[in-house]
């Protein structure tokens, strides 16, 4: 199995077509069948097989995308266009979300810290939460919600209008031509956006802690530099890159396999956002666990 294009569902005219992937099942047309008689019905498939198949097809697409990244010619123009589009729809909302988010964390941590007389650690705690958790998640939500839905709708409507079939017929792989630039664009935007959100969130937290809660600027920064280390930033960016990849691949997967007509595209967009959210939070949990195990805290 080399890629999902191989077992793509068969386009428009066959709504009765089974789940999106899977190799062609052994033909029900038994060999000795009398001419014109109906082939025997297939056996009832195992429950849950559909899910398994979808998951497999999603992974197959991810692998195909990774392989196609290195295939020449690289679609630079498409990449720049998509990058610009995704950046333009995510930058402003990301900044606007990250200010109150940083503030909330600072206020919460600050009030908790003052209750246990540990105000001097507010800075370190809120900045770490911001950089490691809040910022990649804000990026993930925006990439999935704003960029992923747009990618899914775009690819989905092209699929049902047979544009992707036409592209394949012309010997152009839609994965290489359309999906790879989009996935790379979501990764790049996610990584850069993550940096911006971290900065804006940290500044917001600093402002609220110092101005609203009468924290001392010196203590805030001192505790920050005492507890934070560079790997915190690395894991944040790694998370952002991975979230961008997942959001891009899931959106492309649902967009390439809409089920039946314009309504199918709407459903696909909906599902792509929901699936991405679920996956992102799960992956975030796993990555955080791995990070805490592998990287020793500063000063330990």
């Amino acid at each position: 199995m080399t890629g999902p294009t191989e077992d793509k569902p068969d386009g428009g005219p066959s709504p009765e077509n089974g789940p999106t992937s899977g190799r062609p099942e052994p033909g029900p047309a038994a060999k000795g069948d009398a001419e014109g008689s109906r082939p025997p019905a297939l056996k009832q498939p195992l429950p849950g097989l559909g899910w398994l198949r979808q998951t497999g097809a999603l992974f197959a697409l991810a692998v195909a995308v990774l392989r196609a990244v290195f295939k020449r010619p690289f679609q630079f123009r498409e990449f720049v266009e998509q990058f610009w589009f995704i950046a333009s729809v995510t930058i402003l909302p990301a900044a606007l979300v990250s200010i109150p988010f940083g503030a909330v964390i600072a206020l919460q941590v600050g009030s908790l810290a003052s209750q246990i007389s540990a105000q001097s650690f507010t800075g370190g705690a809120s900045v770490l939460v911001n950089i490691q958790q809040a910022s990649p998640l804000i990026v993930a939500l925006l990439i999935a919600g704003a960029a992923g839905s747009a990618i899914c709708a775009d690819l989905g409507s092209r699929t049902i209008r047979e544009e992707l079939d036409a592209m394949e017929v012309m010997g152009v792989s839609p994965i290489q031509r359309l999906v790879v630039p989009r996935v790379l664009a979501t990764i790049c935007v996610a990584v850069l956006l993550n940096g911006m959100v971290s900065v804006v969130g940290t500044l917001g937290g600093y402002f609220f802690n110092v101005v609203m809660q009468d924290g001392t600027p010196g203590a805030y920064i001192a505790s920050f530099s005492a507890l934070a280390q560079l790997p915190d930033l690395y894991i944040s960016e790694i998370k952002a890159a991975l979230f961008g990849f997942i959001a891009g691949v899931v959106a492309a997967y649902r967009g390439l396999n809409p089920r039946g007509g314009p309504k199918g595209v709407g459903d696909a967009v909906n599902q792509s956002v929901v699936i991405t959210f679920l996956l992102l939070f799960l992956v975030n949990l796993v990555l955080t666990g791995i990070y805490l195990q592998l990287v020793p805290p500063k000063g330990a």
Partner: protein, 355 residues
């Protein structure tokens, strides 16, 4: 120069629904073939299987040594460059204007300079009568124009195999005749192997060298056009006459009870028409179709295995053709009345916008 396409034992099902089984046929090099069939018999699926967009469960489609069904993805992509497929509604890229749409294969697969791309695209646009519309988006033009633009895009890489999915649907009879003529002219110019999927009888009667018909999950017949046109097979006869009487019903196929009930009803002879008309000739000024001679040899070789009706039909059409060859200076006199020519001065020219 076209390429022979040979289909062997192709079977396709969606889930438990069998579309067709064990379809075997050969599209001879450079000849024009038509696949007929009632709606919903999987003609489009057949076309898409030939080009590897749909993977049948079993069977092979051999094109230039590549099996479009089972070969590796890389080989299939490479082989697809030999094909031009005209989709039912054009399948143009909605975000690009017509020029960019038609230039797309050139920009993807060749390193031609922009000026040369422009020249080729304009040439193809002129061929299908869309000059002046190249800046329009697919959403801004009529269905017929989209179809023609789709054909222009399919032609831009000089394909050796051209597949047309219902070229007539959504076109008026005049444009359909122009399109038929265009397809024949194309064949004369580039000698590509062509397969047209349709249920339009005018195209079926005037364009192809070979004809086949899909019905009830099977290929009913495939062979020289005269064989199908003279066929006594009830399905074929009913389809060609458009009669309500026969095995084809409103739904996919009639069941036995409906057939029995039908016997009591009045006869429906359908529309009497003579489909055994001579084939279209290329427009004056174009070269002879080199497929004609190859076909003549091929058909003469198989003459003995055919029914007497088909044999005499083939004989008379071959005789008629050699007659025209001797009086080639005259404009082709065997053109059926319905088919126009590019130089006709009718009120509806091909270049006219039918938006």
């Amino acid at each position: 120069m076209g390429i022979e396409v040979s289909v062997e034992g192709l079977t396709k099902s969606f889930g438990s629904k069998n579309i067709w089984q064990d379809v075997s046929l050969t599209l001879p090099t450079g000849e024009v073939s038509v696949m007929l069939g009632p709606s919903g018999t999987g003609k489009t699926v057949f076309l898409k299987s030939m080009i590897g967009l749909i993977k049948p469960e079993s069977g092979r489609v051999l094109v230039d040594g590549v099996d479009m069904v089972n070969s590796s993805e890389r080989d299939v992509y490479e082989a697809r460059k030999l094909f031009g497929l005209m989709f039912q509604d054009g399948a143009l890229f909605g975000s690009m204007n017509l020029f960019d749409n038609i230039a797309f294969p050139l920009r993807e697969h060749t390193k031609k300079k922009e000026s040369e791309i422009r020249r080729i695209v304009m040439e193809r646009l002129e061929m299908v009568g869309l000059v002046g519309d190249e800046g329009k988006l697919p959403g801004e033009i009529s269905g017929g124009m989209r179809k023609r633009a789709g054909l222009a895009r399919a032609l831009v890489l000089d394909p050796q195999i051209i597949l047309c999915d219902e070229p007539d649907s959504g076109l008026d009879p005049v444009r359909t005749s122009f399109l038929s003529q265009l397809l024949i002219d194309l064949n004369a110019q580039i000698d590509a192997t062509m397969l047209i999927v349709t249920h339009n009888l005018d195209i079926a009667a005037t364009v192809p060298d070979n004809m086949g018909m899909l019905f009830r999950r099977n290929l009913v017949t495939f062979g020289p056009r005269e064989v199908l046109l003279t066929s006594e097979e009830p399905v074929v006869a009913q389809f060609l006459s458009g009669s309500k009487q026969g095995p084809i019903g409103m739904s996919e196929e009639k069941d036995a009870a409906a057939l029995a009930a039908e016997r009591g009803r009045a006869e429906d002879p359908g529309i009497e028409r003579n489909l055994l008309v001579p084939q279209l000739e290329p427009s004056p000024g174009l070269p002879e179709r080199s497929a004609v001679r190859r076909r003549q040899h091929r058909v003469e070789g198989m003459l003995d295995s055919l029914t007497p009706a088909a044999r005499s039909a083939i004989r008379s059409s071959l005789a008629a053709r050699s007659e025209t060859a001797t009086v080639a200076t005259q404009a082709a006199p065997y053109r059926p009345a319905s088919s126009g020519r590019a130089d006709d001065t009718g009120p509806t020219g091909q270049a006219g916008s039918d938006a």
